[in-house]
């Protein structure tokens, strides 16, 4: 097992270098200049001397080769550099936003798992019943509905309902406070995004749980267990569900990794200052260093999550051994 993990970690190195080269090249292929965006975006006069000073300050007047070497050497040493937009270390920019993205990702995953596993299992156990039809309808609606739209609707619903019931429209606070500073206020901020994201996430997971369960329930060993007279609850929990979880865990892993940096529009709808919003800002502002660091962070999260999922396979299915 340890050797397998080591191999996987070593294989991550060329993946990371490839991603680094790709993002470095792609960012520079996009036409534009961060200094012009910064100094001229407001519509006033842009002093060419100020643009030149900005280029020199950001190191954009150096050759692309030198810029790439700097990036790779810095990344290898754990130094992501300075954000070209804010002048702050990239690690500080990401650090100040990762907490909220992680919190939303974890809460959404909890919501998704809490809904998807029981309902997906029940749906498989009662195949073609009214319950199954209901669960499948809810799941398809969840997949078909964009999270950001659901987010906008949920805020409007809260506003309308509060206005109707109390006479004064209410919505959750819009200035984020960390969980450890004010748990109640924090939860009131993150609960709506977690629910709206969790719903779509649960829909995908629910369908996967159902189909995996249906497949497992038709296996010979389940029939054997039933023939032996084992309790149905025991068959489902111990033998069917655990084996059906393999593809579900993979899906949960991929979705979780996506949630860290992929909630671009949803974070804007709820005014959450997370990694997804930072990603968009970095690309829009043509902040090369920050975009590069965020891409590398995302790649690393995906590699790590996939590794964790693979390790979980062995725990879920003892037949799987990593050599």
């Amino acid at each position: 097992m340890y050797r397998y993990i080591l191999n996987r970690l070593l294989l991550a190195v060329p993946t990371l270098i490839g991603a680094a080269a790709l993002v470095f090249a792609l960012m520079r292929l996009i036409p534009g200049d961060i200094c012009v965006v910064r100094l001229g975006g407001g519509g006033g006069m842009v002093d060419p001397k100020a643009v030149a000073a900005c280029h020199a300050q950001l190191g954009l007047d150096r050759s692309l080769f030198l810029q790439f070497v700097d990036f790779i050497v810095g990344f290898a040493g754990g130094n992501f550099g300075i954000s070209m937009w804010s002048g702050k270390p990239v690690i500080v920019e990401i650090g100040s936003r990762i907490a909220i993205s992680l919190e939303i990702a974890i809460l959404s995953t909890v919501v998704a798992v809490a809904i998807a596993i029981p309902l997906g299992t029940l749906s498989a156990l009662r195949q073609n019943s009214w319950l199954d039809h209901f669960v499948r309808t809810v799941a398809i609606a969840g997949i078909a509905t964009p999270s950001f739209w659901l987010g906008i609707m949920s805020i409007l619903l809260v506003l309308e309902v509060s206005q109707l019931t109390t006479g004064a429209p209410w919505m959750p606070p819009i200035d984020y406070v960390p969980l450890w500073e004010d748990p109640l206020r924090n939860l009131s901020i993150v609960i709506l995004p977690a629910l709206t994201i969790g719903y779509r996430y649960s829909a995908v997971t629910m369908r996967m749980t159902r189909s995996a369960m249906l497949e497992v329930l038709r296996e010979d060993y389940i029939r054997t267990a039933r023939a032996k007279g084992l309790l149905e609850q025991l068959i489902v929990n111990r033998h069917a569900l655990k084996n059906a979880m393999l593809p579900v865990v993979t899906l949960i892993g991929i979705e979780f990794a996506f949630l860290i940096g992929g909630l671009v529009v949803t974070e804007q709808v709820f005014n959450l200052n997370g990694i997804g919003r930072l990603f968009v800002q970095a690309v829009q502002n043509q902040d090369y260093t920050l975009t590069q660091a965020l891409v590398m962070l995302t790649v690393t999260i995906f590699i790590f999550t996939n590794l964790v999922v693979d390790v979980l396979y062995a725990w879920l299915d003892p037949r799987i051994r990593f050599g």
Binding site: P48, L278, Q281
Partner: protein, 536 residues
């Protein structure tokens, strides 16, 4: 009443009306206390340094912490000529044939760390803004071309010596970005203010969460006695309009200070009734439609004239104002300024003729003469809804009425500026947006690239520069206005270097309990919150 006087009177009456509308608190005694929460319609600004940045996001977050030498009058910000002292004791009368301005600096001003602010601080800051040392950048150096040097003969005096007398100096000096930093800190590390805040303004810095919020608390030692009225403020960054509208609706924020589209205003007024007030003003921002004269057939003035003649501004402006943040038909100069053209003056220029059928017939004739009938081209636009895309779509529809086939290409800000600077477009929607209304400098946008780097028309024209310089150096207001008209007619009618679209309309919806704040023609002005109070 002759035309200029009539328009001056109209401008003044507009300003007065705006002031009256914007003064719900007239006669009321300001109440002390409370925290004002407002929204900043942007993501995090690049830095907190006013000297280096051009974005309103920096100003909206940091203006309450700083003082400036002079400012637009916060009690009359809709006026384009009313400037008052902030750090000085009295607005000076120029001497030396208008080339020397001597400012006396208040003695009772302290920085937030308790050290006194002197004329040496003011002089050093302006020296850095006008003539930044090696390695230091100043976004406002170009605006101060008229200044020769800044002197500080004693601890209470700052003297500005100009290269030439000009009416552009005082408005340029009232630049809201021209914060006065502590001299010692500025000299020690000119980049310190990019990430740190230490001023002498009405509020002291409390905290800044990048891209999230800025917080400030009342400065008890503020030199304008009795102010500020608020205990503090919280400014929340929210780039998405729906968030800001919902926040005002649910009273999570009292307002924003940039501007909203008519639909947002209508929604909030409908839902909140008298719990909100609305302030509106012409805005010192305008979209221009600029043909690239380095590309055929836009090097032919007949084609450019045809483009201008096809657009019905008089009918388009009121229609567009219902859905977009535009309102007033104008020329090169901000419509609220005494230097702006009258309607009669405008109607003589192409693109402003009152008879649109005659105008379009002339456009078709010109296109035929130029061999450009049924011309197909691409209109480049910026990926910003209000009002860019509305303007672009409107112009394309207008051009279709003379047989032109135009498609719209919308680009994000970075690639958009890249295309502008490299001249890789046929015709573009661009913009001119300034802070203090300073017509003499604001119209420099039409000057060739060799003089004004942000001109994208792709032309060089010595006569245009000559006309501009004659106007710039003219000190008699009446003569200057005449020379401004000559420049305008040459740029918009004779050469049609650019086509003006209706000037922007600034609409602000605020919770009714927010008092004391008055709208100005720019979202960069009147933001230090010293005279704002909450009627709660």
């Amino acid at each position: 009443m002759n035309a200029p006087i009539k328009w001056l009177a109209t401008g003044l009456s507009m300003a007065l009306t705006a002031a009256l509308v914007a003064t719900p608190a007239l006669g009321e005694t300001p109440k002390r206390g409370g925290i004002l929460t407002y929204m900043i319609p942007a993501d995090a600004p690049p830095s907190l340094d006013g000297h280096k940045e051009n974005t309103f996001a920096t100003l909206h977050a940091t203006a309450p912490f700083y003082s400036t030498l002079i400012a637009v009058n916060p009690e009359n910000p809709s006026s384009t000529t009313d400037f008052v002292c902030d750090l000085c004791t009295e607005m000076p009368k120029p001497t030396d044939d208008g080339k020397t301005y001597t400012f006396k600096i208040r003695k009772d001003v302290k920085f937030h760390d308790g050290t006194p602010l002197t004329a040496a601080d003011v002089a050093k800051n302006w020296q850095y803004i006008i003539n930044p040392p090696e390695g230091v950048s100043s976004a406002r150096e170009s605006y101060m071309v008229m200044v020769d040097k800044v002197e500080n003969p004693d601890p209470e005096t700052v003297i500005f010596k100009l290269k030439f007398a000009t009416s552009a100096f005082i408005p340029a000096l009232a630049d809201p970005f021209a914060y006065i930093y502590k001299k010692d800190q500025l000299e020690k590390d000119p980049r310190w203010f990019e990430k740190n805040i230490m001023g002498s303004g009405p509020f002291k810095f409390v905290s800044y969460e990048t891209g999230q919020s800025m917080k400030g608390e009342r400065n008890p030692d503020y030199y304008h006695k009795g102010q500020p009225y608020l205990d503090g403020f919280v400014a929340i960054f929210a780039a998405k309009q729906s968030v800001r509208v919902d926040a005002i609706r649910a009273d999570r924020a009292a307002t924003e200070f940039r501007g909203m589209p008519p639909s947002a205003r209508d929604q909030l007024v409908k839902e909140l009734g008298d719990k909100v007030t609305v302030q509106t003003s012409d805005w010192n921002c305008v979209n221009l439609i600029t043909p690239n004269q380095k590309r055929k057939p836009f090097d032919d003035v007949r084609v450019r004239r045809a483009l201008a003649l096809a657009i019905d501004k008089w009918k388009g402006a009121p229609a567009l104002s219902k859905i977009a943040t535009v309102h007033t038909v104008g020329g090169l100069v901000f419509p609220g300024s005494s230097m702006a053209p009258t309607k009669e003056e405008m109607e003589k220029m192409v693109g402003y003729w009152p008879d649109i059928e005659k105008s379009r017939a002339e456009a078709r004739k010109l296109l035929k003469e130029a061999g450009a009938e049924g011309l197909k081209f691409e209109l480049m636009n910026r990926n910003v809804d209000q009002p860019y895309k509305f303007i672009g779509t409107w112009a394309i529809d207008e051009w279709s009425k003379i047989g032109l086939q135009v498609t719209q290409k919308v680009l994000p800000t970075g690639p958009f500026y890249d295309a502008l600077r490299n001249g890789t477009f046929d015709v573009t929607v661009e913009f001119n947006c300034q802070n203090v209304v300073n017509p003499v400098l604001d119209v420099a946008k039409v000057l060739p690239k060799s003089v004004y780097p942000e001109n994208y028309g792709g032309y060089e024209d010595p006569k245009l520069i000559e006309l501009y310089n004659a106007m710039l150096h003219e000190t008699d207001p009446a003569q200057q206005r005449i020379k401004m008209r000559a420049l305008e007619v040459y740029a918009l009618d004779t050469q049609v270097n650019t086509i003006m679209t209706p000037w922007w309309n600034r609409i602000l919806v605020q919770r009714s309990y927010l008092k004391g704040w008055k709208i100005s023609p720019s979202h960069y002005l009147n933001l230090n919150l010293a005279n704002v109070w909450l009627d709660k």
